[in-house]
Symmetry: C2
Subunit: 137 residues, 2 copies
DNA sequence: TCATCTATGTGCAAATAGCACCTAGATGAT
DNA sequence: ATCATCTAGGTGCTATTTGCACATAGATGA
């Protein structure tokens, strides 16, 4: 334990995901396209652009169970096909609505992010080349 | 303690910020515009669009100290003006570079977010009106 | 038989971040 | 003079998110 010297704010260990709870809406969207099981969802998550930062399976399974507890998906064990039994998840009507509220929330995230970019670029436009002036130690 | 019945994933207590560690680049950008102290930064954070979700002062002060520990800002006590003494923070050259890496990171966040929106809208375009078909309970 | 793939899961720890609360100087009103 | 309030910085605690290590177990093929 204690894999790095630093602790607290800015130590950057453990949690790499940039947008909080972002895998949840991704899973909801995949399930909106049709019922599926954890392992398959895990593979299909690549369609969202997490490059070099694939989702962790334990996180996926935990999110799926949490979605079921809240009534946003239902699940059933499906056997018979090939390989081990799968728990197949289906989006409910509530899950559909929940996905829509997630989209609204992510649009707000997008607004906040772009409000930052706007501030950044407008500031850099008026202060370009001043980096020698500022930030001297 | 235990302010809500639910626990674990999806319980939505405690942390409301959507983008992880987002206050850090905001503070860095404000400091790029000129030295400042915690209380003032806290007020100026409104310029980034967190509507109805103002930053918590304890978080700000902790981020500032962490930035100083990592050499991205320096601080000095300034007395004499009016009111209690203030700890005034100045961005260092390293802090400037760190802000730039933050911008690159946030651009990646933006790409991921828009990759979600793209998937969402392209899926909804081909499946519009099918909500009665899907998601039945 | 054994490695490997598919599939689901548990235990743990680190990091983020909000809430409640504390300290203390300055300022102004009663 | 006392008290409330504003300014300014801070601590302690806790919930939540999330990744890593690891466990379990059926199926499949060499």
């Amino acid at each position: 334990m204690l894999r790095r010297g630093r602790r607290g704010y800015g130590a950057q260990g453990g949690c790499r995901r940039r947008i909080r709870r972002f895998l949840e809406p991704c899973l909801l969207l995949l399930l909106h396209a049709g019922e599926s099981h954890g392992y398959e969802l895990l593979e299909n998550l690549d369609s969202f652009g997490f490059r070099g930062n694939p989702a962790d399976s334990s996180t996926i399974y935990r999110i799926l169970r949490s979605l079921e507890e809240r009534g946003f998906v239902t699940s059933e064990w499906s056997e018979g096909d090939s390989g081990p039994a799968r728990r197949v998840y289906t989006l409910t009507k509530e899950g559909n609505i929940y996905l829509d509220t997630w989209v609204v929330d992510l649009e707000e995230t997008d607004r906040i992010l772009h409000s930052f970019f706007r501030e950044y670029h407008s500031h850099m436009k008026t202060h370009h080349g001043n980096d020698d002036e500022k930030g001297k130690e």
